[in-house]
């Protein structure tokens, strides 16, 4: 089938994009069996595992922003596995694909995408570039933790962007948690110092710290972030217990550099993949997981307060290329009908 047709088809597939999000949402509670059987259905139409099949798979992954290097690596591994196991028909290749992809995500600790909680105060620091959704994610996470029965305090560490403090403040009121803040333009490290002190004296369970968005190539701003991190560690040894990098799912290959630089400066412990409710797949997290071993801990699936969900590797991997494969199947059916 022509590439253009596929692309065109993709553009008109709004409804399906929504559906796939729905699938993902429902899917979060489903088991591995459900996942494999779906992949099974999807790849069943390929009579044999040939170069065409690999090429299609390659393009689907590239269009999900997985990135050239990781895709090539993955394809080599898949080709090797297929050859080694002498897989000829697609009924067997599905397990190889899904295994490989999920393997990347689930390498290491089994519980890795759960938040680590400290016995006393747990400090969570949010970092990321401008406009990825840090503040909104913080509000959603606060809501989530509050529902779990934890007491939460927020720190308005974005003292730079106009309206950022008000934004967190409004969220704080909606969620029903207090916000420690200073005026716009004040030193973010000082806000953190205040917030940590307040969190200790109020004996809250979790302190979530917002920071201003910054591009990772701005050395001065990254130094400032390091200082914020240092101030928190000085007040509470071992803190921040989680450093979450908010990553926009629409971001392309630059996300890898973002993850790398932020990790160097603040020792990022996890990723919050935001805006996954659009048509973007955020496939770059696959490359990030592959190269930097940073786990994805949460995904943002919508604008509602409870739309921040724990990450599920299997469902995500399925969503990554299910849509593309679905489309082709339809198209081929349509062509066959003619």
């Amino acid at each position: 089938m022509s590439f253009f047709k596929k692309l065109k088809d993709k553009f008109s597939g709004n409804q399906e994009a929504e559906q796939s999000t729905e699938k993902y949402k429902e899917g979060l509670t489903k088991t591995r069996t459900g996942f494999t059987s779906k992949i099974n259905d999807l790849v069943a139409r390929y009579r044999k595992v040939d170069e065409d099949f690999f090429e299609e798979l390659e393009e689907v992954l590239l269009q999900a922003d997985v990135g050239f290097e990781t895709v090539m690596e993955l394809m080599d591994q898949l080709r090797f596995e297929v050859q080694r196991k002498n897989v000829k028909d697609t009924s067997n290749v599905q397990s190889v694909i899904s295994e490989k992809l999920v393997e990347i995500y689930e390498a290491g600790d089994a519980e890795v995408n759960e938040l680590k909680f400290n016995d006393e105060l747990t400090v969570i620091l949010f970092v990321g570039v401008n406009g990825v959704g840090k503040t909104t994610s913080i509000a959603k996470l606060a809501h989530r933790l509050k529902n779990e029965g934890k007491t939460v305090l927020l720190a308005a560490g974005d003292t730079f962007r106009a309206g950022a403090i008000e934004q967190l403040d409004i969220w704080g009121k909606r969620v029903g948690v207090d916000v420690i803040k200073q005026s716009e333009g004040s030193d973010p490290a000082a806000v953190m110092y205040d917030a940590v002190r307040a969190a200790k004296s109020r004996k809250v369970d979790v302190l979530i710290c917002d920071t201003a968005g910054r591009l990772q190539n701005k050395v001065n701003l990254m130094n400032e972030l390091e200082k914020v991190h240092r101030v928190i560690s000085r007040e509470i040894p071992g803190a921040p217990h989680e450093v979450l990098l908010a990553l926009d799912a629409t971001t392309g290959q630059n996300a890898l550099i973002q993850a790398q630089t932020f990790k160097e400066v603040t020792n990022v412990t996890g990723i919050v993949l935001t805006k996954l409710d659009g048509t973007a797949k955020g496939g770059i997290v696959l490359a990030i997981r592959n190269k930097l071993k940073i786990p994805v801990k949460f995904v943002g699936l919508g604008e509602q307060m409870d739309d921040l969900q724990p990450f599920d590797a299997q469902k995500y991997v399925y969503g990554l290329f299910a849509e593309g494969l679905d489309k082709e199947e339809e198209l081929e059916n349509a062509e066959a009908d003619k």
Partner: protein, 453 residues
């Protein structure tokens, strides 16, 4: 800097071909593989990549290259031309309405930078086009978006039309246009809420705002870091409301910005501006030709020259020249000059605009220490007026005091004084050379570079 990676990659292959007498079909094929790889890594959409590679291959393998005297140059030219074409041919300007007011709508995904860009655009329209802009806070969904625009308006001393979050964005926009008419404000910039391109209700809202008074410009604001999905976003917004142009934001990051190529070739709408920083004046025109040159490592001298022109005060430059000549250059002048350079933007950015700069190993890590500049500033500011004009009088006691006052060490102060002396000597020599018209000698300013390290 944007596209750096792409430039590097292309340079590698182009360099190889440059060295050869002829370009074989295999050479082109090899080069196009690199091009494809580089473009995908630069986030250019797969479809666009394929189109590009096909076009360039066709032209490159053709006889134009084979018969050309310098085949390497020919290939470079073809790649550059095609890149320029892909990004929009020539530069585009803003459309103003003959019927007041001109309406500009800002649309896009969440977090693309619409509100900030609205402010920057308003500031630019006032400064460069002499317009009277009215900013309209039509994002009633995101908490504090209205306050954000109000704060920006205050920073720029520009009026902001806000009605809180109770009215609908359509009603706010309608009232704003009426208000602008009554108050004789000629340009209305509507900052709409960020929305997903697949959200039908919110897309309808944009159509309703659009129906109030046909906007003269509908700018799609897109994050330069956007990946493959940029085509979906651009296509959907374009189909739903018909955009007239694109503003690419956060291009001061280190993304390669392939989204620029994707969006342009999918929507056929020009990229009009690029966001180059968090400051309110960091909005620049988009020049496809220059961007293509930059991609190919030919430097971005034009941008640099323009930057220098808009920021360097000509009268001051003349005055400085006079001081050079008479060697009455003081620490005050030095500070002045430093500030002028600083106004051009972060020094490491300026550095990278120089041709061939991206070929220098480690240039991407070369960070000009702005903190050092700050220290130099502090030292100078800790001097008395007399000390600034006649540094000879600075005794060791004075040095101690200056170091203390500026929070630096005596060594820092000594170094600056020494460098300043060297600079003055050099200036004397230079002006001497210029006077005797024997200006063939290579001019350099020893010490000036080490000041900032």
């Amino acid at each position: 800097m944007a596209f750096e990676g792409l430039a590097e990659r292309l340079q590698g292959t182009i360099q190889r071909i440059k060295g050869k007498g002829k370009v074989s079909e295999a050479d082109v094929k090899e080069m196009m593989r690199e091009v494809r790889f580089a473009l995908i890594e630069a986030d250019v959409n797969l479809k666009v990549v394929k189109e590009f590679v096909k076009k360039v291959s066709e032209r490159a393998v053709g006889q134009a290259v084979m018969d050309s005297l310098t085949p390497g140059q020919q290939v470079v030219k073809i790649v550059k031309d095609e890149l320029t074409n892909l990004m929009g041919g020539e530069q585009s300007k803003i459309e103003f309405s003959t019927k007041q007011p001109t309406v500009i709508m800002m649309v896009g995904l969440q977090g693309a930078g619409k509100t900030t860009t609205s402010g920057k655009l308003a500031g630019m329209l006032r400064k460069k086009h002499n317009r009277k802009p009215l900013l309209v806070a039509a994002d009633v969904y995101r908490p504090a978006a209205v306050q954000q625009l109000e704060t920006i308006g205050k920073q720029l001393s520009l009026p902001v039309f806000s009605k809180g979050t109770d009215l609908s964005p359509v009603e706010i926009s309608r009232q704003a246009i009426e208000y602008a008419k009554a108050e004789h404000m000629d340009t209305v910039i509507i900052d709409t809420a960020g929305r997903l391109h697949v959200d039908e209700n919110l897309m309808q809202e944009l159509k309703d705002i659009r129906a109030l008074k046909e906007p003269d410009e509908i700018f799609l604001v897109v994050d330069a870091m956007t990946g493959q999905d940029a085509v979906n976003v651009a296509q959907n917004f374009n189909e739903a409301i018909g955009i007239t142009g694109v503003v690419l934001t956060k291009l001061d990051g280190d993304t390669r910005g392939g989204a620029a190529l994707s969006i342009r070739s999918v929507t056929d709408k020009p990229i009009k501006f690029v966001g180059m920083g968090e400051k309110m004046d960091a909005l620049e025109a988009f020049y496809p030709e220059r961007m293509a040159s930059r991609i190919l490592g030919m430097g971005d001298m034009l941008s640099l020259i323009e930057k220098a022109q808009t920021n360097v005060d000509e009268a001051k430059a003349k005055e400085l020249e006079e001081k050079f000549r008479t060697s009455s250059f003081t620490f005050d002048d030095f500070l002045d000059q430093m500030n002028q350079v600083k106004q051009m933007g972060p020094l490491d950015e300026i550095l990278k605009m120089l041709p061939g700069a991206n070929k220098i190993k480690g240039i991407e890590n070369a960070k000009v220490d702005e903190g050092q500049m700050g220290r130099v500033e502090a030292i100078i500011q800790s001097m008395t007026t007399q000390e600034k004009t006649t540094p000879e009088i600075i005794s060791s006691n004075r040095r101690k005091r200056i170091a203390k006052g500026s929070g630096t060490t005596i060594q820092d102060v000594n170094r600056l004084l020494k460098q300043f002396e060297d600079m003055k000597k050099m200036m004397k020599q230079m002006s001497g050379m210029a006077n005797s018209k024997k200006g063939k000698k290579k001019m350099s300013m020893p010490g000036l570079d080490s000041l900032f390290k």
